[in-house]
């Protein structure tokens, strides 16, 4: 265990009484409560934490926040493991295990860093160019590249953690809990608005958390003002404070996504009662964006060495975490903000070797103060190179000429282990841009700022380009008033502005590429995007090759396309593009900001919608009985249906054969509950059926049933089923199991949108009724034992009719319909009686060897009869004519849905694919469904395809295979032999009518 050599003895927002143990790449360390993983590593002197994506050069902790491009971490192990988290945003907990990503075999010795030496062959557009080489070579390159590329690893087992979703509404959503956000929330909250204030950090305060303790608001320490504001907000009933909550997405109609890390910071100590993360979906009347700004790096040679760090980050490590990020620092800046960093570093004993300021003659109190301390100030100078291996050891500095394009005089070397860079500030306009607001490049401040709002939002503070504390507060108050008033809280007003020291500053000097000397002048080690290893030279190459549009340049060079989305690189990249192409930065435009602001884990996005809760499971009233009978289940939509009921030692094929033969020879029973049932009532019910079905319904007497085919208005078969006439103005429609919801919606749509004058009502009653279908020659014998109040004689209760009565003492509707071709009754009882009915039928049916059968036997039996299954033998391009079902299409009706389309030239073509039966020459050959019928056999594909097998089974009763197919001109090919192409061989079959059993229908009517 190493000591925290770089920890400052006092100060900071850490708790020195709570020591926490953690490991990084297997090595043990300690930190304190309040540390981030990054600050704890720095306290232990660990600066290098990763390797570059492309060249595998050593990389160090670069920032102290969400913008971190380098310090990507694989957190924890096993199923809890999470890749690509930013060390700067991971709160330390006891027992934390972290590892670097993209290093192999180890961080210190990385084999792929050889890429760094061959960087000449990895230019921008590398992938695209490689694709242009002989394709065979790509496979070789890809293997090597895939090993070297990529970041963290996804966990290999299921996520054991729990995630919640919450939907919320508010009057004002404030994104960001720095001074501007707190000010806005205070104003809106005091006015009585429902406010949600979300901030990504563990405590409110924003940038103030990293500022010097000397910062004052209203004469008191700034953090005291923050704490007072937080406490007041927490006491307001309608204000919700969400720390550790990142507003990651801004969508249409003021809908925003927030990822709240509820217990991530507790690690294994997290209580089981809380979810790990919570995803908030917030609909806000008004939004105040107070998301702050990111400091920008400067683009100079070898600016990627570990130890090169954003100046503000160094300050945050000192002030917030009480950590010295180095012992000897050089500050490189083009603006005043880094001077405060130098002062704070010097204050805690870091030697500040020099401030290298690109500006010629900066003035102001901060500059004066630095001179007083005695820090060497090099104005009009720049860093032209850095040295060191796993950590920076020295920088070369030189004096800029007047244009800033070249170095004059000798270069001087300064030893240091920390280089604090500040290239100005980039407002975090991500959410504003996601909301479809426009942004513009502000030349004076050299950054992108919000321009015009598109939704009900406004930006306040640093994200609006207002970088001083006074401006942050005043814009925060003003935005809070505006948002609250727009949300209907007319009396919202701003409090008296507290006094804040005003600091005079000198404007920054924009110098987008700092000249290099010698071979560094090529700009190929001037890193712009640290995460994706994109250099200024790469951008220049893209421009030379014509990728002038910023969107093209981004994709070609991959700048800004890492997990950090270029938070530290985008503005530099676009300004360099502008400089190279000689246009104004504003004319270059920006690439599109897209959600999420920082990555959101799949667990949070999925919430509880995973595993068993992913989709509802529907079970019939008889489900437990099927279970007890050993049924294997099949998913049909959300339903669990018995697939087959294997007995001891039986294969699926043996079970299905046994079930089929039982139905054909004696008695089978099937759970038909899942068939869709729609109750249709109203004076115009019959007329409505006439319009949605192809056949006529006027003459169907009460007590009778009829098969119907439903088409879309394009003439294609949409669903089928039996509809029964239940009483005056009352019908019961059945649909396919999978089509039930779709048919219900279809009927409602036509009723409401086209025919609102027809008085007809639809109720889905699928689950109101449990249905047992008994099928086979002994069906009537069984039913007669259990039912005494229905006359079952063939002529009194004929095929395609229904009767009301009692079965086994249970009130029932009995339908004499059959999908097997056997004598059959479908007995419908109230769902709660389903199990009782099934048991009674099984008990009394034992003497007939009653055999429960599943969906596979159902399919075999119906195929033997040539009954179609919509969606199995049809695919949305099949007309009734194609199925040979013209008999069900009324010629007399003037109109029905789909009628007109049936006479379109395409639907009457003779060479459409039409339904046929297929009998293979070898009766034991069962064709795979989906097999292609070929028009001509050739030694190799392609061969002309003239149809395909849609249904294919072994028929036990026929002792041979049967199949149905859709075949070009099939109806005129009966008797012909066709060839089916299988994997590496062909099979011949005879085309037949698609009916193989009891063609005359004697049995079904028996």
């Amino acid at each position: 265990m190493t000591a925290q050599d770089f920890r400052i003895a006092t100060g900071g927002r850490i708790d020195r009484d709570q020591s926490l143990r953690f490991t990084f790449n297997g090595k043990p360390y300690t930190g304190y409560a309040g540390d981030s993983l990054a600050s704890a590593l720095l306290a232990n002197g660990v600066m290098m934490v990763g390797r570059g994506f492309k060249y595998h050069r050593p990389r160090g902790i670069f920032s102290a926040g969400a913008e971190e491009p380098n310090a990507l971490i694989q957190l924890a192990g096993g199923a809890h493991s999470e890749p690509n988290l930013r060390a700067t945003q991971i709160e330390l907990y006891d027992g934390l295990e972290a590892a670097s990503v993209n290093c192999w075999p180890s961080l210190e010795f990385d084999i792929s860093s050889i890429n760094s030496l061959i960087s000449r062959v990895l230019p921008s557009g590398f992938y695209y160019k490689t694709f242009m080489w002989p394709a065979r070579l790509w496979m070789t390159y890809e293997h090597i590249i895939r090993h070297a590329a990529g970041l963290g690893r996804a966990p290999e087992s299921a996520d054991p953690d729990r995630y919640d979703h919450r939907h919320a509404h508010c009057d004002v959503l404030v994104a960001g809990g720095g001074p501007a956000g707190l000010a806005a929330a205070l104003v809106a909250g005091r006015a009585g608005a429902r406010v949600i204030l979300a901030d990504e950090q563990n405590e409110m305060g924003g940038a103030l958390l990293g500022d010097s303790v000397d910062e004052k608001i209203g004469g008191k320490p700034a953090m005291a003002w923050v704490e007072a504001a937080r406490a007041e907000l927490a006491g307001l009933e309608d204000v919700r404070l969400l720390p550790r909550a990142t507003v990651f997405g801004y969508y249409d109609h003021n809908h925003l996504g927030i990822a709240e890390r509820v217990t991530d910071h507790l690690g294994p100590a997290a209580p089981a009662t809380l979810p790990r993360q919570r995803l908030w979906k917030v609909r806000a009347n008004q939004v105040v964006l107070a998301t702050g700004a990111h400091e920008r790096p400067l683009v100079f040679a070898d600016n990627d060495r570990p130890g090169v760090m954003l100046a503000s980050a160094a300050r945050t490590y000192v002030n917030r975490y009480a950590v010295m990020p180095g012992s000897r620092a050089v500050i490189v800046t083009n603006n005043d903000s880094a001077y405060a960093v130098a002062i704070d570093l010097a204050d805690v004993g870091v030697a500040v070797a020099a401030i290298v300021d690109l500006r010629l003659s900066p003035t102001g109190p901060l500059v004066e103060r630095v001179r007083e301390i005695g820090i060497e100030l090099l104005t009009g100078w720049a860093v032209v190179d850095t040295h060191g291996g796993h950590r920076v050891e020295a920088v070369d500095v030189g004096q800029l000429d007047d244009t800033g394009q070249a170095i004059v005089g000798d270069v001087r070397r300064i030893d240091c282990d920390l280089v604090c860079v500040s290239g100005g500030w980039s407002p975090a306009v991500h959410l504003m841009s996601q909301s479809r607001g426009s942004v513009r490049f502000d030349d004076e401040r050299a950054c992108i700022v919000p321009d015009k709002s598109f939704q009900e939002e406004r930006s306040a503070g640093a994200c609006n380009g207002a970088f001083s504390l006074a401006e942050c507060l005043s814009q925060g108050f003003r935005s809070g008033v505006e948002a609250a008033k727009r949300a209907g809280f007319a009396k919202a007003n701003a409090p008296k502005m507290p006094s804040v020291a005003k600091v005079e500053t000198t404007p920054l000097r924009a110098l987008w590429r700092i000249p290099g000397v010698g071979d560094k002048a090529r700009n190929n080690k001037h890193f712009v995007d640290l995460q994706n290893d994109v250099t200024a030279a790469d951008l220049a190459l893209a421009m030379r090759e014509g990728y002038h549009s910023v969107e093209h340049a981004k994709r070609y060079t991959t700048t800004g396309m890492g997990t950090d989305q270029g938070k530290t690189s985008n503005v530099n990249a676009l300004a360099i593009i502008a400089e190279i192409t000689g246009v104004e930065a504003n004319a270059v435009g920006t690439t599109t900001f897209r959600p999420p602001y920082t990555p959101v884990g799949y667990g949070a996005l999925a919430g509880r919608n995973a595993g068993k809760l992913f989709d509802p499971v529907r079970m019939t009233a008889m489900h437990q009985l099927h279970n007890q009978a050993g049924a294997v289940f099949e998913d049909v939509g959300q339903w669990k249906r018995p697939y087959y009921y294997p007995q001891a030692g039986e294969t699926m094929a043996e079970a299905v054969n046994r079930e089929c033969l039982a139905v054909r020879s004696s008695l089978g029973i099937m759970d038909a509950t899942t068939l869709g049932k729609i109750d249709i009532q109203g004076p115009d019910a019959c007329e409505f059926l006439n319009r949605v079905y192809t056949n006529a319904w006027d003459k169907l007497a009460v007590g009778r049933c009829r098969y119907g085919l439903m088409l879309g208005d394009d003439g294609m078969v949409f669903d089928d089923g039996v509809t029964s006439h239940m009483g005056d103005n009352h019908y019961l429609m059945t649909t396919t199991t999978g089509g039930a919801a779709g048919v219900m919606a279809w009927l409602e749509e036509w009723s409401q949108t086209e025919w609102p004058k027809l008085e007809v009502y639809f109720t889905s009653v699928t689950t109101h009724w449990a249905v047992a279908a008994i099928q086979g020659p002994r069906a009537r014998d069984l039913l007669s034992e259990l039912c005494s109040d229905i006359d079952l004689e063939r002529d009194d209760f004929p095929f395609m009719s229904w009767r009301e009565g009692t079965v086994a003492g249970i009130p029932a509707r009995v339908f004499r319909v059959s999908f097997s071709g056997e004598l059959a009754y479908e007995i419908n009882v109230a769902a709660s009686y389903g199990a009782a009915l099934w048991q009674a039928l099984m008990t009394s049916g034992a003497k007939y060897d009653i055999t429960p059968y599943g969906t596979e036997a159902l399919h075999v039996l119906r195929a033997e009869k040539g009954f179609i299954v919509v969606g199995h033998d049809t695919d949305g391009t099949v007309t009734p004519g194609d199925l040979g079902m013209d008999w069900i299409v009324s010629k007399k009706k003037i109109d029905f849905i789909g009628k007109r389309a049936l006479s379109r030239p395409d639907t009457i073509r003779a060479d459409r694919k039409q339904l046929v039966g297929l009998l293979t020459e070898d009766p034991y050959e069962v064709l795979p469904e989906g097999s292609q019928i070929v028009g001509e056999v050739r030694p190799e594909p392609p061969m002309p395809m003239i149809g395909f097998v849609c249904s294919s089974y072994w028929s036990a009763v026929l002792d041979r295979s049967i199949a149905m197919a859709l075949l070009v001109s099939g109806h005129s090919r009966h008797g012909e032999t066709v060839t089916i192409s299988l994997d590496g061989r062909t099979v011949n079959a005879t085309v037949t009518k698609p009916v193989f059993y009891d063609e005359e229908g004697e049995i079904i009517r028996g």
Partner: protein, 99 residues
């Protein structure tokens, strides 16, 4: 995600609804009298404007009623909702501009 004002239930999230495409495509009263082209036009051809669009929505996870919506296809601003069978509102400057 859009916020859609159902005429019967009020403002609800888009996930409760399904979109039924362009509104005011009336099914021809006498299909038999139409040419194949006219029928194909009714069946398949829909306008795809950049700007004001009148379209049908169904509150499928709510009251299951169909209604019409005037929406700007670029801004997604919803400027009117009205019942089936009602005439669309006159195109206003704001509905065209999408604000």
């Amino acid at each position: 995600m859009l916020l859609i004002p159902c005429p019967w239930c009020g403002d609800r999230d888009e996930t409760e609804f399904s979109c039924g495409g362009e509104a005011h495509i009336e099914r021809p009263a006498k299909p038999a009298g139409m040419s194949d082209d006219q029928w194909a036009d009714y069946l398949f051809l829909r306008s795809n404007p950049k700007g004001r669009h009148l379209e049908r929505w169904l509150h499928s996870q709510g009251c299951r009623r169909w209604f019409n919506v005037e929406r700007h296809t670029v801004s997604h601003h919803i400027t009117a909702v009205y019942e089936m069978g009602k005439k669309p509102p006159k195109a206003s400057k704001t509905s065209k501009a999408g604000k």
